[in-house]
C-alpha cells in the first residue's frame, strides 16, 4: 500500500513540477484602444436600451458617470427610459442630479435640461430642484 503510494507520487511528480515557459514579452499597454466619445455614447445607449432590471440600470449609471466626461443627451434619454422601464422614478430624478454634478456650470446644466425637456415632460419627471422648491 505504502510502496504503491510512493510509486504513484513519484510517477506524478515530474508532471507537477514541469514548468510553464515564462512569457517574456508583456503586451504593450499602448495596444488598448482609445474609445471615442461617439462610440462611448453608442455603447451606453445600447446598454441602457437592453438593461432589464434596476440593478443593471444603476450599475450602468455608476459606470457611465464615472468617466471624465458628461454623458451625451442621448445616453441620458436612454437611461431615463430604462428607469421608466424598470419602474423606478427615483433613479430618473437621480440621473439629472448626476448631470448637475458632472457639468462645469449652471448654463451647461440648463442646456441639458432644455435639451431633455420633451423626455421629461413625456415621462413626468421633475428634477430635484422642482421637487423641493414647491
Amino acid at each position: 500500500m505504502r510502496a504503491q503510494l510512493v510509486a504513484s507520487l513519484l510517477r506524478t511528480r515530474p508532471i507537477a513540477v514541469r514548468r510553464v515557459a515564462p512569457m517574456l514579452a508583456r503586451p504593450s499597454s499602448n495596444a488598448a484602444h482609445e474609445e471615442t466619445f461617439e462610440s462611448f455614447t453608442e455603447r451606453y445607449v445600447t446598454f441602457f436600451q437592453q438593461a432589464q432590471d434596476l440593478f443593471e440600470v444603476q450599475r450602468g449609471l455608476n459606470n457611465c458617470f464615472a468617466h471624465d466626461l458628461v454623458p451625451a443627451p442621448s445616453v441620458i434619454e436612454a437611461a431615463v427610459r430604462a428607469a421608466r422601464r424598470v419602474n423606478d422614478y427615483a433613479t430618473a430624478v437621480r440621473v439629472f442630479e448626476g448631470i448637475k454634478e458632472k457639468v462645469e456650470n449652471k448654463q451647461q446644466y440648463q442646456a441639458y435640461l432644455d435639451e431633455l425637456k420633451p423626455v421629461r415632460e413625456e415621462l413626468g419627471i421633475n428634477v430635484r430642484e422642482e421637487l423641493y422648491s414647491s
Binding site: 421608466r84 419602474n87 423606478d88 422614478y89 427615483a90 433613479t91 430618473a92 430624478v93 437621480r94 442630479e97 415621462l123 413626468g124 419627471i125 421633475n126 430635484r128 421637487l131 423641493y132 414647491s134
Partner: protein
C-alpha cells in the same frame, strides 16, 4: 464592592427602560393592526419626517407601496408621492446621512473662538499678577553700566572699551 456600586444605577434605570418598552409596544399595538388592514397606514406626505422612526416592517411596507405607485404613469403621481419615492431611494438617511449634523461648523468655530478667548484671558490675568520688572532693566541703569564698564576698561580687544567701538554696550532700550 463593584457589584454593590453597579446595583444602584441599574435599579434606577430599570423602570425607565420598562416605560420605553411599554411605549414602544403601545405604538406597535396601534400601528400593526392598521398596517395589516390597509397598506397606506403611513401617509406618503410625511415619510421624510417619519422615516428614521419607522420599524423595518413599516419601511418595507412603504417600499412596497412606492414600488406599486411607480409602476403607474409618472405624470399621475403627486409631488408628495414623487418626493417620498426620491427620499426613500436617495434621501439623507442610512449610508447617505450627513456625517455632521447641520450647525456643526458654527459650533466648532464658536468653540475654537471661546478657547482662544479663554487662553487670552488667562494670559492677561497671569500678567496682571506679575511683579514689576527688576530695577536693572531701565535706560538709566544700562547707561550707568556702560560708564562703569568704560571706567574699568572692560573687554578691551573686541568689546566696549576697544578702539573704534560703535555698539551700544549694555544699553538695550531705545
Amino acid at each position: 464592592m463593584q457589584a454593590l456600586r453597579l446595583a444602584r444605577p441599574r435599579a434606577s434605570l430599570r423602570p425607565f427602560a420598562r416605560s420605553i418598552a411599554a411605549s414602544a409596544s403601545g405604538t406597535h399595538a396601534t400601528a400593526s393592526p392598521a398596517s395589516s388592514a390597509s397598506s397606506s397606514v403611513i401617509p406618503l406626505s410625511n415619510v421624510e419626517a417619519q422615516w428614521e422612526q419607522l420599524s423595518h416592517d413599516e419601511q418595507l411596507t412603504v417600499h412596497q407601496q412606492l414600488e406599486e405607485l411607480q409602476k403607474k404613469d409618472w405624470k399621475t403621481l403627486s409631488i408628495d408621492e414623487k418626493k417620498a419615492a426620491y427620499y426613500v431611494a436617495f434621501g439623507p438617511h442610512g449610508p447617505r446621512a450627513p456625517v455632521n449634523p447641520p450647525g456643526t461648523t458654527m459650533k466648532v468655530l464658536l468653540g475654537t473662538l471661546a478657547g482662544v478667548a479663554a487662553a487670552g484671558a488667562v494670559f492677561i490675568a497671569v500678567r496682571s499678577f506679575a511683579p514689576p520688572p527688576p530695577k536693572s532693566i531701565s535706560k538709566e541703569w544700562e547707561e550707568a553700566s556702560n560708564e562703569r564698564a568704560l571706567e574699568q576698561k572692560m573687554n578691551p580687544i573686541s568689546g566696549i572699551s576697544s578702539e573704534g567701538y560703535s555698539g551700544t554696550g549694555f544699553v538695550t532700550h531705545k
